[in-house]
């Protein structure tokens, strides 16, 4: 069944015929098949413009369709057209983007459409993208477009004043030039826009649905994607069912498939997506519960196995013989995220750019035992971060090693000695130059069930170099707020990539972003200038060199003490197929399949 080529042909010819074909395609989703999946934390809701947590976003990614998507198997992550016919046409050196929509894509049926089939149009994207920046909502994703699109900021200001966003007024930089064409005009070139248009939160919602359900939109996600939500018991269970209006897709690799993924690629041949009719998702917060349930066969695909259990399931990075025998498949992949300790550069003690201030931060960085963090605390489920930029994204250089890193207590003490941080009063703790008292406060947040091993590690390092550390426990919301407003000395942080480009990380250290993403309040002219350059150019050797220089600046001035990039381990039952963890895109259930007979044979039901 060469469905995709059929679709292409029909697309350009007869549009009503396609509807038939779509039904045919989704009829392939076997309603007898139910895939069991778990979330390790509770979801919050399913309005793409309102929620920002990872788990809600998994559901959103399976219900709503952004213009672009990612190739399921290609690494590094590679954008492909989703509801767009092709990748956008780029004009004026990355300032204007033109997206052409596929015709004949329909929303899932909903009472809001009054029994009619509702086709997806460019106006839906205009509306959906405007919703993202509505200042009268939480708008966690406003930063994706705010300050970038021509004419949009003015509308936001107006909406703030009027307390209502006028969705009918035209934004110059964001408009549908015809029913199927969307044109986005930016203030300055930005080659990362396609990535933004591949994020699940930029997926299309229908205005009728938003207006019908109002505040309850959360529980009525209606999209054009492969699944629709049929059951929702908050913070407990979500059931997705194949959307019968879905256009049907066939996966075809866009690049050479990695030899390890040949089996997966093969399983897609002639398979119309989605294959599994029902997805049954449960929230299982306890790592032990989900691991044991997986071993029991109650869970088909277990993503992000808790680090504690990895050494049991796959000691030394190899699947344990017991699981091997069962035919369980195991995937271990570096996730594009970075954990780090922030220093507040505006703080009179730990901040500052003079050599003595830099020395203190550098000594602290050297006292943090990253090897122990990665090998012992994270049970090898992590890589020592060499640069702010994590693996798997553009701008990451595996050959680059932090020239000023490494755990080295003797050197840390040497630096402190050299810059006058000495123990003046003989109490065993160092004082600041000039014998001024020295104590550094680190903000930490404890939530139920959390571990304190990283706090212990930090304290250990401070003790060993003779610098007093106070760990202040704060409720998480306050911790976040104090980081944002610069009311702290030191704090832990982590950043997961929104899109696979190093710019997403470097913007966190760009001076003018102080008070926005830049929580360390690092403001260094040389770095700022480099950032402005890399932000407006496409990737090239030249850009890569600039990234490396930026990495070196971060190492030298140490606004961040880099810690680790997480590695995640995923377990897949022998009867589940098509799984591959995507570094950027949320898990997409349409790629997964299960072999019911095999499951029955193994579980003996």
């Amino acid at each position: 069944m060469k469905l995709k080529s059929h679709l292409r042909l029909i697309n350009s010819l007869i549009f009503s015929f396609l509807a038939v074909c779509s039904i045919h395609a989704s009829a392939a989703a076997d309603m007898k098949k139910t895939l069991h999946f778990t979330f390790e934390a509770a979801e919050t809701g399913f309005d793409p413009a309102e929620v920002s947590d990872n788990y809600s976003n998994i559901i959103i990614a399976n219900i709503f369709d952004p213009l672009l998507g990612y190739d399921h198997l290609a690494r590094p992550a590679k954008p492909i057209p989703n509801t767009a016919e092709s990748l956008p046409e780029i004009k004026e050196n990355g300032r204007i983007y033109v997206f052409k929509l596929k015709k004949g894509i329909y929303f899932a049926d909903d009472p809001a459409f009054n029994g009619k089939k509702r086709e997806l149009t460019a106006e839906d994207y205009v509306y959906s993208l405007k919703r993202l920046v509505d200042p009268n909502k939480n708008a966690p994703w406003a930063f994706l477009l705010q300050g970038k699109v021509v004419g949009l900021d003015e509308k936001i200001e107006e909406a703030k004043k009027k307390k209502k966003f006028d969705f009918d007024s035209i934004v110059e930089g964001l408009k549908a030039t015809d029913k199927y064409t969307l044109q986005i005009t930016l203030k300055k070139p930005d080659y990362n826009l396609p990535y933004i248009m591949a994020m699940q939160n930029t997926g299309a919602v229908a205005r009728e649905v938003v207006e019908k359900y109002g505040a309850d939109l959360d529980s009525h996600p209606v999209g054009t994607g492969p699944y629709r939500l049929v059951e929702w018991q908050r913070a407990h269970r979500m059931v997705l069912e194949a959307n019968s209006n879905y256009r049907g897709e066939v996966y075809k690799p866009t690049t050479e498939v990695d030899p390890r993924d040949r089996d997966i690629a093969k399983s897609f041949e002639g398979r119309s997506l989605p294959s599994v009719g029902r997805i049954d998702i449960r929230v299982v917060e306890s790592g032990q519960a989900s691991y044991l349930s997986f071993l029991n066969g109650q869970i088909d695909i277990l993503i992000r196995l808790g680090a504690e259990y990895v050494s049991q399931a796959a000691p030394g990075g190899k699947l344990s013989p017991a699981l091997e025998k069962k035919g369980v498949k195991f995937y271990s992949e570096a996730e594009p995220d970075t954990t780090y300790n922030l220093f507040n550069m505006d703080d009179p003690v730990v901040g500052g750019y003079t050599a003595d201030k830099v020395a203190l931060r550098r000594a602290i960085v050297l006292s943090y035992n990253n090897g122990k963090l990665v090998n012992v605390l994270m049970k090898r489920q992590g890589l020592i971060a060499q640069s702010p930029v994590p693996p798997g994204i553009t701008g990451y250089d595996p050959a680059y090693k932090n020239p000023l890193g490494g755990f080295n207590l003797a050197k840390a003490r040497g630096i402190l000695d050299a810059y006058g941080y000495k123990d003046c009063d003989g109490d065993g703790w160092r004082e600041a130059p000039g014998c001024k008292p020295l104590m550094i406060t680190y903000l930490s947040s404890a939530s139920a069930g959390s571990k304190r091993d990283t706090d212990e590690l930090l304290k250990n390092g401070f003790d060993k170099i003779g610098v007093k550390l106070k760990i202040e426990m704060t409720p998480f919301p306050d911790l976040v707020k104090r980081r944002q407003s610069g009311k702290y000395q030191m704090a832990g942080a982590a950043w997961g990539a929104d899109y696979p480009d190093a710019e997403n990380y470097m913007q966190l250290l760009y001076g003018p972003n102080k008070g926005a993403g830049n929580e360390s309040r690092f403001d260094f002219p040389v770095f700022n200038k480099l950032y402005e350059e890399i932000a407006t150019m496409p990737q090239s050797d030249e850009r890569q060199k600039k990234f490396i220089t930026m990495n070196r600046l971060v190492a030298a001035y140490a606004p961040w003490g880099l810690n680790a990039h997480r590695i995640r381990t995923h377990l897949v039952q022998p009867w589940a197929k098509g799984f591959k963890y995507h570094p950027i895109e949320q898990p997409k259930f349409m790629y997964y399949d299960i072999d019911l007979e095999k499951r029955r044979a193994v579980l003996g039901e």
Binding site: A355, G371, V376, G405, L457, K459
Partner: protein
């Protein structure tokens, strides 16, 4: 019965009680166990033992002496060291510390640590970061017992005083105290804990105060209902008739008659606070990071069972369990000794 209420207990009463206690084999055994715990706790508090509980003396999950041959891949992993960094010229050019590189290198040599060999075998094994589980359990015991005792004195004191006033006087006093009680018990525990921790900061003192100030309600309620029961009894009426003051009647007449309840409450609170400390630790409100308690240990080791590193879990669970059981039985015997009528059936 009424005589007992009007007379203050004499010294001979306590001697008799002590003799009865010594005669009870359960009390002797449990008393010895508790004495051992207390001695160990005191030794640990003075720094004579378990001083280095926080030192990483072994490899990760070092084997205990009774299971020396369990495979320990984690131990090998923990020996892997991070590569030393190489500072290239490009970095040197931008590094503000570059002018002092030579001085730093010299000071680095004088500041080097002695090389220590990490143990692969420890008496009760090692924890994730290679700390000695035995020393950790001892130190944790010291902190937990101290927390339990201190918190229970605070809680029972508050509970008894308020309960006595409320039960004895009734009326407006009762209304006012019931109001406080109702307000207190109606607010979810975690919210109170959060509030107290926010006010008091973080430390062992906070944990004690949080437990004490949130844990008095049970004692209050019990003592109140006892006082309601007793205030109408004959001996109280008789004392009232001869003109005893209210405070005298509350604390000299009625209190001895409920003292066994207070004692039981005290013992039960010690146990329940030691256990509540576990919950506090689990919720993230435990002792600060440079201290350890049984609660912290338990909430940290939960995942170690599945991965087969059971010794830390077994050590702290056993230590805590033996203490709690011995304490409970000792209190029972103590009550029997103090309340001889209870054996007169």
């Amino acid at each position: 019965m009424s005589m007992n209420g009007t007379n203050t207990r004499s010294a001979s009463f306590w001697i008799q009680a002590w003799k009865r206690l010594l005669a009870d084999p359960v009390a002797r055994i449990c008393g010895c166990i508790l004495a051992i715990y207390l001695v160990v706790a005191l030794l640990s508090a003075t720094g004579l033992i378990a001083k280095g509980w926080n030192d990483e003396v072994g490899v990760s999950y070092a084997n205990p002496v009774f299971a020396p041959n369990e495979p320990n891949p984690e131990g090998d992993t923990s020996l892997i060291r991070e590569d030393a960094s190489v500072t290239d010229d490009e970095t040197k050019a931008i590094d503000p510390l570059a002018p002092k590189y030579e001085e730093i290198a010299k000071l680095e040599r004088t500041n080097a640590d002695k090389v220590t060999v990490l143990q692969r075998l420890l008496p009760l094994g090692g924890d994730k970061t290679g700390r000695d589980v035995l020393a950790k359990t001892i130190k944790a015991g010291q902190i937990s017992i101290a927390i339990g005792l201190a918190a229970s004195f605070i809680a029972v004191f508050i509970g008894v005083v308020l309960g006595a006033f409320s039960g004895y006087f009734g009326g407006k006093v009762n209304d006012a105290l019931e109001w406080v009680y109702n307000v207190f018990t109606s607010v979810p525990y975690i919210l109170l804990v959060l509030a107290f921790s926010a006010v008091l900061g973080k430390g062992v003192g906070t944990v004690i105060l949080v437990l004490g100030m949130t844990g008095w309600t049970g004692t209050y309620r019990l003592i109140r209902s006892e006082y309601i029961k007793h205030r109408d009894r004959d001996y109280v009426q008789a004392a009232n008739a001869i003109g005893a003051s209210h405070l005298r009647m509350m604390f000299l007449h009625i209190l001895p008659n409920v003292s066994h309840l207070i004692l039981i409450q005290l013992s039960q609170e010690v146990i329940s606070f030691i256990k509540a400390e576990v919950v506090l630790s689990f919720l993230g409100f435990g002792v600060p990071v440079d201290l350890i308690s049984w609660g912290i240990m338990i909430s940290d080791v939960r995942s170690e069972l599945v991965i087969g590193k059971w010794w830390q879990l077994a050590s702290c669970a056993t230590a805590m369990s033996v203490f709690v059981v011995a304490f409970s039985f000792f209190t029972d015997s103590l009550r029997d000794a103090l309340d001889p009528k209870s054996s007169r059936r």
